[in-house]
């Protein structure tokens, strides 16, 4: 009977193969039991909590939500209806009705699709009463962001629909949901959005919902988003934005005692209400493609410029700290400073104090290039090699928050640049470079780059006489002040407090007798410093000089400062022309609430640099 065993053999073989395959399918590679919620047979329906509101420091409402209504249709479930009445209710033509219906049907007859988007509140009210008559149609409520004041778009940011990439990276999100994309909306997305609720329903292979899944055992309720209070003073922000009209640049105003950001202004900017809902895709293309005005580019955080003269304060402070000068150490200026034998090794100066001793306070007030070139040389040359001196100098500068990300709570930024020995060793591999090679650093030109917020923070450190808090935008969450140590911990500079006095006096003189004398205020003691950064662009291999960038940093009052700010105007010319008046107006606005200097206010509101920008653009082309 041996022949009978062949079939038996096959039967046993098949049994073993099947058991093996089932073992590998159901035990080795099985999708885990618990994840049956993830199974394609179970659909999650999310309920979205209302997104948190944003307020300014005084409690003004900055961002809120607006309801939007979409009329949805499931073509398969539509029964015969009074088309005429329906069209009248919706204010659409019959042809349009048919077109929309066919479009929905073409996409899917079983799944809902948008029939008419963004119905007004009034139409919704009228429609809602009659909806029961139209089987297969229903109204889907959506929440849109609304900005009642239309300012500070760069700070507040906007929400956008989650794209596939984000959804892949972050399992919380699904494509098409809303997510903060820039500004505070992005930074505090988790607080603002809350936690969505979820309802599990059973569905079939056509995606049609056939009932709840396990009697709603796994369902959760949504947790609403948190309301946030920002450190912004929206009146100051608004005022600053209006002063900047027609100009390009940024203003950053901080509260030195806390590091709170009072204003963060960039111009040109955009109306945040244009980046909402259906309008968003159209306008974002428009805004992002505007490479001339760059409304989406936050100059206050991202623009890196040479700081110019305001950097001289830091130079003076380091000189004092290193002991290479004393407040009364005199230097002489001969319309400039010669640092080498060759003709071009000469740095010009506009201080007009020819061959008379200049002390530190006067050096600041008159912004003498020669003075600070001497200081810089002494700092570097104090050490046996230029490299060592450079690193000491660099460390001092960096203690003011320059050349690094500040760590503020906004999602974008730039590091800026503070050169060190390593940089110059790369440039001069033989290592035989000296202080005079890098003499431009003395006056804030050279390789140094800073962003407006770094400059404002540096000014705050001087206002505080030796320390600063990391700038931040969040003040309270649901009314409770923040306690994040990142923003409540003092950062000390490497310069002792006693050295600040002559510097502050010099800055005070800028308003009393110096370059900002024309915009001094009777009732407020302001300390400031003008700056002018030369602006070269390389076009067709030629170095062309454009109108200088106008810079001004200031804090006020002189004792117990309440505000420190940096104003940066692209191609604004000499610092005292535009940047200084704007700084003065901002300070008065913040400290007094009213403006005494009406003439300057009008002049600033009306000044327009578009001719200059036009010229520059034409030159480039």
């Amino acid at each position: 009977m041996k022949r009978g065993y062949l079939l038996t053999f096959f039967i046993l073989l098949v049994a073993i193969v099947f058991l093996g395959k089932l073992f590998s399918l159901q035990i080795l590679t099985s999708t885990d039991q618990g994840i049956s919620l993830e199974s394609s047979a179970v659909k999650r329906i999310f309920t979205y909590p209302e997104r948190g509101y944003l307020f300014d420091r005084e409690g003004s409402l900055l961002v809120t939500n607006k309801r939007s209504y979409n009329l949805m249709v499931i073509p398969r479930e539509v029964k015969s209806l009074d088309t005429l009445e329906f069209c009248q209710l919706l204010n659409i033509e019959k042809a349009s009705f048919l077109k929309r219906f066919q479009k929905a049907q073409k996409w899917s007859s079983r799944l809902p699709s948008v029939f008419l988007a963004h119905i007004s509140k009034e139409d919704f009210a009228a429609l809602q009463e009659k909806m029961h008559k139209y089987k297969g149609f229903y109204i889907d409520k959506k929440s849109l962001r609304y900005y009642p004041l239309t300012v500070a778009a760069n700070v507040l940011g906007y929400v956008n629909e989650v794209n596939d990439e984000t959804a892949r990276k972050n399992p919380y999100y699904h494509a098409g949901e809303l997510i903060g994309t820039t500004g505070v909306e992005k930074q505090y997305e988790k607080l603002l959005r809350g936690v969505k609720g979820v309802k599990y329903v059973q569905r079939d292979r056509f995606n049609k919902i056939t009932g709840t899944y396990k009697q709603g055992r796994f369902d959760t309720l949504p947790k609403s988003g948190k309301d946030l209070t920002l450190t912004l003073d929206i009146e100051l922000q608004q005022y600053g934005e209006s002063l900047m009209a027609g100009k390009r640049g940024g203003i950053v105003a901080l509260q030195p005692a806390t590091g709170e950001i009072l204003s963060l202004i960039t111009l040109p900017n955009y109306n945040p209400n244009l980046m909402v809902g259906r309008l968003r895709s159209k306008h974002s293309t428009l805004f992002f493609n505007d490479t001339v005005n760059k409304p989406m580019y936050d100059r206050s955080l991202l623009a890196q410029y040479a700081p110019g003269s305001p950097f001289k304060m830091i130079q003076g402070l380091i000189g004092l700290q290193e002991g290479v000068i004393r407040p009364n150490t005199p230097f002489y200026c001969y319309h400039g400073y010669r640092y080498g034998a060759r003709e071009k090794e000469f740095m010009g100066c506009h201080c007009d104090i020819y061959n008379r001793p200049i002390e530190l306070r006067k050096g600041i007030a008159k912004s003498c290039n020669s003075y600070f070139s001497n200081v810089y040389r002494r700092i570097i040359e104090k050490y046996p090699t230029a490299a060592e001196g450079m690193d000491v100098w660099s460390k001092h500068v960096q203690s003011f928050g320059l050349g690094q990300y500040l760590g503020y709570d906004l999602p974008q930024g730039k590091k800026g640049l503070v050169p060190d020995a390593a940089l110059y060793n790369r440039w001069y591999p033989d290592g035989r470079w000296r202080a005079t090679y890098t003499i431009s650093n003395a006056i804030g030109q050279g390789q140094i780059l800073t962003t407006p917020i770094q400059l404002a923070n540096m000014t705050a450190a001087i206002a505080n006489r030796g320390f600063f808090y990391t700038p931040h935008i969040l003040k309270k969450v649901e009314g409770t002040p923040i306690s994040n140590p990142k923003y409540t911990q003092k950062h000390l500079t490497t310069v002792d407090e006693k050295h600040y006095k002559p510097i502050v006096e010099g800055m005070h003189d800028v308003f009393k007798t110096g370059t900002a004398k024309h915009v001094q205020l009777k009732t407020i003691e302001i300390c400031g410093k003008t700056g002018t950064a030369e602006n070269f662009k390389r076009i067709d291999g030629k170095k062309i000089q454009f109108e200088d960038h106008s810079i001004f940093v200031a804090f006020a009052p002189k004792t117990n400062p309440q505000i420190a700010l940096a104003v940066y105007i692209e191609n604004g010319g000499f610092g005292s022309n535009i940047a200084a008046p704007i700084a003065s107006l901002m300070i008065e606005k913040y400290l007094r609430g009213t403006i005494s200097n009406k003439w300057w206010e009008q002049k600033m509101l009306n000044s327009d640099l578009n001719d200059v920008y036009e010229k520059q653009l034409n030159a480039k082309q």
């Binding site: 049994a15 073992f23 399918l25 292979r205």
Partner: protein, 425 residues
């Protein structure tokens, strides 16, 4: 001396009957899970799939009583007539048949449809048993081989023409019987090699398989020549014939696959061979059923808790893909239990077949064991992604009256034959 028959259930094999009842009951539970909806509640609602199946099950019990009532000798006597009747029922389809899913395999009887091919299996098994049980019959003779093969292929050919190639494939299983009864081994060997070459050709292409085959043949000849030192002087004709046959076969496989098969047949093979990863279109069924089985895990999601089964993710789940419902809701425990039960079931039939006293009963028993084996192997293999999509039902499990009755007749005829053995001394 004959024992007087008073009880028609006398001598029936309890093991088989219990296995049968268990499979039917378990099968019905899975049909219920696969077809129940939230709206329907009545178990005896004949508008539902599970309600109808319950009706088929009760009617099959009637059928069993009728089958057991007749004398075992009757079936042997009427084997030829039953065979001819069943062939004519297949022929009748070409005139009166009803087309469902593209195959004219059904007779329409009011609200119900009957699939005659399910009943041809037992008639063929009976006829084959009758043929082989002849004392003069010797399968070593070519004449007898031809007779047997014609007997098997006639219904298969008619079913292929419906077209229902899946059901026709089942008749291959009768070769196990012929082998058992003395058909030379090379029939099966050549058949197995042919199937292997067929699959290899599809997987790797005509040219490469041809090349490998020829290289192997040449190596074999060199081995014989050089190591065995045998002269092949008188065998060259055979060797060239071998080369020609292999080449021709591979070529015809290539030709049949690309020119005779329809796209859907090609797709089925391509999915299995991993050449087609389309899980949305043609591969949808297999992909969904494998995923469904997978999702069951070790102990399953529980009866009526399979969300993929309830969501109707596997098309035709209550018929050919019923095993996926079981895999999801009962997990590895349930599905491996079923595999073991089927294995035990056919092994029990084989065991009983071997102890039959008459060739007729033995051949019949062996035949139906092969048929059951073939059915569950192909069906489960398809559901768990081992075999291409071949639409044949899982015995006692799949929804459908014809299949259930066909399998019931197949089994209980044998139980009757086996029962008679004990009192015919």
């Amino acid at each position: 001396m004959r024992t007087k028959r008073t009880n028609i259930f006398y001598g029936v094999d309890l093991t088989l009957v219990l296995l049968y009842l268990f499979l039917i009951a378990f099968g019905w539970m899975n049909i219920y899970a696969a077809s129940v909806t939230e709206q329907a509640h009545e178990i005896l609602d004949f508008g539902t799939k599970y309600g109808k199946q319950l009706l088929w099950i009760s009617l099959s019990f009637v059928l069993i009583v009728i089958l057991l009532f007749f004398d075992a000798k009757t079936y042997e006597k009427f084997a030829s007539i039953l065979y001819i009747l069943s062939l004519s029922s297949l022929l009748g389809l070409f005139v009166f048949g009803k087309t469902i899913n593209g195959a004219t395999s059904w007779y329409s009887l009011g609200n119900f449809s009957l699939q005659p091919s399910e009943f041809v299996k037992f008639a063929t098994a009976l006829a084959l048993a009758r043929l082989v049980s002849d004392r003069q019959y010797d399968l070593k003779l070519v004449k007898n081989q031809v007779k047997a093969i014609v007997l098997i292929f006639l219904p298969a050919a008619l079913i292929t023409l419906q077209p229902d190639p899946g059901s026709a494939l089942v008749y291959i299983s009768f070769f196990f019987v012929l082998y058992r009864e003395g058909l030379p081994l090379h029939f099966i060997t050549i058949g197995a090699i042919a199937i292997l070459l067929f699959l290899l050709t599809l997987a790797f292409g005509f040219q490469s398989v041809l090349l490998v085959c020829y290289v192997l043949l040449v190596l074999f000849i060199l081995y014989v020549l050089l190591y065995k030192k045998k002269s092949l002087k008188f065998h060259w004709a055979k060797i060239f014939g071998l080369f020609a046959i292999v080449g021709l076969f591979l070529f015809s496989v290539d030709y049949v696959f690309n020119s005779v098969f329809e796209q859907r047949h090609r797709d089925r093979f391509n999915i299995l061979l991993g050449k087609n990863n389309d899980t949305k279109g043609v591969g949808y069924n297999t992909n969904q059923s494998v995923l469904t089985v997978k999702s069951g895990g070790f102990s399953g999601k529980g009866f009526l808790q399979g969300d993929r089964t309830r969501g109707d993710f596997v098309p035709e789940q209550h018929t050919d893909y019923i095993f996926s419902a079981l895999g999801e809701e009962w997990g590895f425990l349930g599905s491996s239990l079923l595999v073991l039960l089927f294995t035990a079931f056919v092994l029990r039939i084989l065991y009983l077949a071997e102890r039959q006293k008459t060739t007729f009963s033995r051949v019949y028993g062996y035949g139906i064991a092969a048929v059951f084996f073939f059915h569950y192997t192909i069906n489960i293999g398809m559901v768990i992604g081992l075999f291409p999509t071949i639409g044949i039902p899982l015995p006692f499990f799949s929804y459908g009256g014809s299949a259930l009755w066909g399998f019931t007749v197949l089994l209980f005829l044998f139980i009757k034959l086996d029962a008679s053995r004990s009192y015919e001394l």
